[in-house]
């Protein structure tokens, strides 16, 4: 009879599970972010404060993605992409958390206070 798992299998699985759980815990303990960086398509990256509620509409190759900022978190509310992975990723509030929509090329990233937020862009829109 062949063994179900070799020692190498068990070692590999334990190592990978341990490392990913440790990394996930480390990420989950990151401090709450202060600003959110938004990139869409070939647009220039823009930053907004997380403390002011607002709705952003950004344009990617497929159409407009709607991003809501409220309660110190950002989330993708509506997206023209097929699988809506970005919408289902939920809200991001901790430094380093990222929402990505691959088809519409939108990246929303939470940052610690990285300089001034681009408040004027938002007002001019």
């Amino acid at each position: 009879m062949r063994r179900v798992l070799t020692a190498g299998d068990v070692f590999l699985i334990v190592l990978l599970v341990g490392a990913s759980v440790a990394a996930a815990i480390a990420f989950a303990r990151a401090p709450a972010g202060a600003t959110v960086s938004v990139r869409a398509g070939d647009e220039i990256e823009r930053r907004f404060s997380l403390s002011e509620p607002r709705t952003l509409r950004v344009r990617g190759p497929l159409g407009e993605t709607e991003i809501a900022i409220e309660d110190g978190a950002a989330r993708v509310v509506a997206s023209p992409c097929a699988r809506k992975v970005c919408v289902r990723m939920g809200a991001a509030r901790r430094t380093g958390e990222t929402l990505v929509c691959v088809p519409n090329r939108v990246i929303v990233r939470i940052e610690a206070n990285a300089g001034e937020a681009d408040e004027f862009d938002a007002i001019l829109r």
Binding site: L5, G8, D9, L12, A23, V85, C86, P103, I107
Partner: protein
């Protein structure tokens, strides 16, 4: 564990191999399409059913055929879902090629240490890593890709182990059949 039961020189064995490979390629396409239909419980998490076929071909016929099967699945699969040369195509190409490379290497370098289950786990993790690699080349910054890695690695490890058990069952059955068929071929050759 070696499955060299089939005699490559016998013409009937060659035809049998061709038919088996074609059937496994078709099966991997069907599984790929089926999986695209089930809504994933979490974004980015896929069961990886098609990898059962890649693993089976790797263990029955070796790395060359496993690479071929992966390429065919990625290209034909993208035709069928209408994503040829779309971002999703490059993600699945990058993931598929890195996965089959990792599995081939693992099987060749550590045949005693890792069973098909461990090889499958490596393949699943490599698949995610390949996708993130393509993502970060295309438009994601490296730091963002790393941020997604732990969750993907965790789910890939567990699902990869499951897929490995399924593949082992299939490889055992197909190897037993191939051995039986080869002995029939040998008998026929001797009597004729």
């Amino acid at each position: 564990m070696r499955f060299s039961a089939e005699r490559r020189d016998h013409p009937r064995a060659r035809i049998r191999r061709l038919v088996t490979l074609s059937l496994l390629t078709a099966a991997s396409l069907v599984l790929f399409l089926f999986e695209a239909l089930i809504p994933a419980p979490l974004p980015w998490v896929r069961l990886g059913l098609a990898n059962v076929m890649t693993l089976t071909v790797l263990y029955l016929y070796g790395p060359g055929d496993a690479f071929l099967l992966t390429l065919l699945r990625v290209v034909l699969g993208s035709f069928l879902v209408g994503a040829f040369l779309a971002p999703a195509f490059f993600l699945s190409l990058g993931g598929g090629l890195l996965a089959v490379s990792a599995m081939s290497a693992a099987r060749a370098l550590a045949p005693r240490r890792l069973s098909i289950v461990g090889v499958s786990v490596l393949g699943a993790v490599a698949h995610n890593a390949g996708q993130l690699l393509v993502l970060s080349v295309f438009f994601l910054r490296g730091a963002d890709a790393v941020r997604l890695l732990p969750y993907l690695t965790l789910s890939a490890t567990l699902l990869g182990a499951f897929i490995g058990f399924v593949a082992r069952a299939l490889v055992d059955r197909l190897a037993a059949r191939a051995a039986a068929a080869a002995s029939v071929d040998a008998d026929n050759t001797e009597s004729s």
